[in-house]
Subunit: 508 residues, 2 copies
Amino acid sequence: MTAGERIPLWDIFEVAFAGPSDGNPFVDVTLSATFAFGNREVRVTGFYDGGGTYRLRFMPDTQGNWTYVTTSNVSVLDGHKGALTCDPPASGSHGPVRVRNTFHFGYADGTPYFPFGTTCYAWTHQPETLQTQTIDTLKNAPFNKVRMGVFPKHYIYNENEPLHSLFERGPDQVEDFTKPNVVAFQHFERQVKALMDLGIEADIILFHPYDRWHYCDLSHEQDIAYVSYLVARLSAYRNVWWSLANEFDFLLDVKPVEHWDRLFHTIEAHDPNRHLMSIHNGEVTVMFDHRKPWVSHVCVQNWDVKRTDQWRREWGKPLVNDELEYEGDIPRPWGNISARELVHRFWITLMRGGYAGHGETYLHPEDILWWAKGGVLHGESAARIGFLRQLVEDSVTEGLTPLSEDGRWEFSRVSGARDGTVRFLYFGEHQPREWAVGLPLEDGDYEIDLIDTWEMTVTRLDKAALPASPALRQRGGAMAGGEPEAAFGVKLPGKPYQAVRIRPVRAT
Amino acid sequence: MTAGERIPLWDIFEVAFAGPSDGNPFVDVTLSATFAFGNREVRVTGFYDGGGTYRLRFMPDTQGNWTYVTTSNVSVLDGHKGALTCDPPASGSHGPVRVRNTFHFGYADGTPYFPFGTTCYAWTHQPETLQTQTIDTLKNAPFNKVRMGVFPKHYIYNENEPLHSLFERGPDQVEDFTKPNVVAFQHFERQVKALMDLGIEADIILFHPYDRWHYCDLSHEQDIAYVSYLVARLSAYRNVWWSLANEFDFLLDVKPVEHWDRLFHTIEAHDPNRHLMSIHNGEVTVMFDHRKPWVSHVCVQNWDVKRTDQWRREWGKPLVNDELEYEGDIPRPWGNISARELVHRFWITLMRGGYAGHGETYLHPEDILWWAKGGVLHGESAARIGFLRQLVEDSVTEGLTPLSEDGRWEFSRVSGARDGTVRFLYFGEHQPREWAVGLPLEDGDYEIDLIDTWEMTVTRLDKAALPASPALRQRGGAMAGGEPEAAFGVKLPGKPYQAVRIRPVRAT
């Protein structure tokens, strides 16, 4: 057997076969392959791509020589053998994102990944020129994840028809939910790849309730067939995340919790790469049970972001709050907070050990709102989120742990986090002129930076005297002293939206 | 029997008697009186005021002729009889504040009372000139309640000795906790009266943990004697509220919950006027059980003000959040939020059916911080709180009911309240350009006012078209319509900290 095609680690090996096009190939024909690396075997599901063409895609996760052999219920597709050699990764490729250090994420190559995502639910269903504009915007935006639906969106400001129907239309123009429209899926996949080429994760939403095309009304078996097909097509893209739903609880009448679990298991069956999987809530009081082992991380919609550290502790997994309300001015409370407030909520979320997602919903004369359609960004939060991302990427390695875990009550009110010896304090609506709690308990040589989160400035601060500290009440004649607050204090400007970063100076 | 002295309703009838001054009159001598109005009898406790003088004070709550007779364990004080005639109330006197409409307050004469309080914990313990300045400030400030401690305060910025020790000093200069220092109590009482003359309620804090004078170490019996004495002196002042503690939970090691209950009962025994009573928490997670029938209203320290409507519903009583953090810049998170944030929290609290309290803690070169010592106000929130108070007093009669009780989820995010046909919406960090939810469902003639809560402006708005409303997903081929949001919409400026008031135009 030859060494075969050479594929960089975490890139896509694809092989196509000609097969039957009569009947319903999506239903009638099964195709899979077993990829082998020595004694290790990985099962990969193939898919029908229209016009009698069947494809198998495989993302190698280990360098070296792989072989494969196909299995099909159709003899012409069965028993094909081949080989590939997996080389070192391409430049800029870090592999799929995994859970790392319990509450955080990292790429497969060990590089930390800090999600700073945005939301463009239906951008792939817009006219091509608008999609091109969206990609151009993302090239220069600070986001490394996009939440995007497979299905188009029916909602206010979303009245237009999608570029492609998701399923083939019969002679009566009615969509046949047993036949994916390969043109639609090829297009969607092309945009997933466009994001991959920009280093952006595609947080792919499989179901959502905003529908006028009856996509909510697929039978349970049709749901499973659709998910199987999507996963077979896309799981070889390293930047894929599976989000089973946007607002799953608004679909509970047609998809009960047991069905969602079955859909999770369907993905597991067809995704040899075990991409991240989660599911998103509508009502802030209705959460999926993210403790289930097949849920890799917690996806939250909730505005009450000072509870982030509590949620994280309760679920014991990485937490991404993808809807802490969007910057905008529409008449829906989830889509009309000020840029300042969204940046504030990002900082609070990060400084309590979670991750946050951006969205933008400004009224637009042609109803082109970023949150659903993409286009260009109009708001003021994105730049500040980029500033925060840069600070985190510059300073954090393993992930931020909330200072509230150190037991000081002050961090129920202000926010702070640490990673090893690096600490951040975020004061938000608090505006002290001097501060100590959360600063290091050991004196030493520190770089202390004052961060203006809105003005995006970083200013070196000197150590200052400890502020006056409240004595406890006198008991039995002796004054009880409080616990030490810190080894030194800092002087601050006495205005809101300030943060402080403290890093020990490394010996040169 | 003659008609006796003429006393306006809710003013103070006082009578003094000469009695023994040897031994410990505070402990040795009992004095009380029964005031009678026809067959009704009211028991009033007397008190020793030093120099052989004993006093009885009585606040008549009913116009007409009253008689009294004294009872004492000392014959010279026993069996004194007298009479008084209670006339209509003096101008500007509305009587003591009571609970009204379950969640609200009103004066005894039926006038609504909306608490807009401030905090000056130890102002009566400061030098006289500073106290005079405090009174002058309160004359022109928007506050109608002051939280103030009987005991002095030991804490950062509070290192000075009080004007008077609370108890008589023995020859060894040690205070004798069985002998109240009448000079101190006379002074405190003069300041309670000064507030009464300004129409300001005195929310009197009986105990607190910030102590270096061993006042926290009184025995339980000494606590009860002190409370009995204080109540006998002060309960005839119509502007008195009893706050058993500031931060009771920080005193639980010396005063368990059973003792707090006993102190509530001690007040009930000596206060014939049944002034409002509550108790204040330190940790936001430790609440006294305000459901107990002797607690008239809920006193809260909590910054998480969007939960106000939830707390109110849980406790079923009027809710006053006296510490939603103070405007200031000190290095304690409870005392360093921006003025804008405090005003925001006031609006949220009011628009969720509760009441809020002000405090101010700016660093001061001579440690004169309003929250503890009074003086002058330096901040920017007081004027905006006054503006809010004026709006409420102009528009509200029975008290505000949160719009979240109408079941619309939007009011978990934005805030709104109604009183009869008057409605307020408060958008806060939300900045919609158009809005409908919470506006009236019936069309008609309305006065619609846009309120800029920070700029303190009120601008008339016209009715506008209903904004586009999200359709629900299509089920079974038919588009399900949402519930109607309102009969009309409003256009808004698309910036934060705006509110709207809607009132039907009355037929002329």
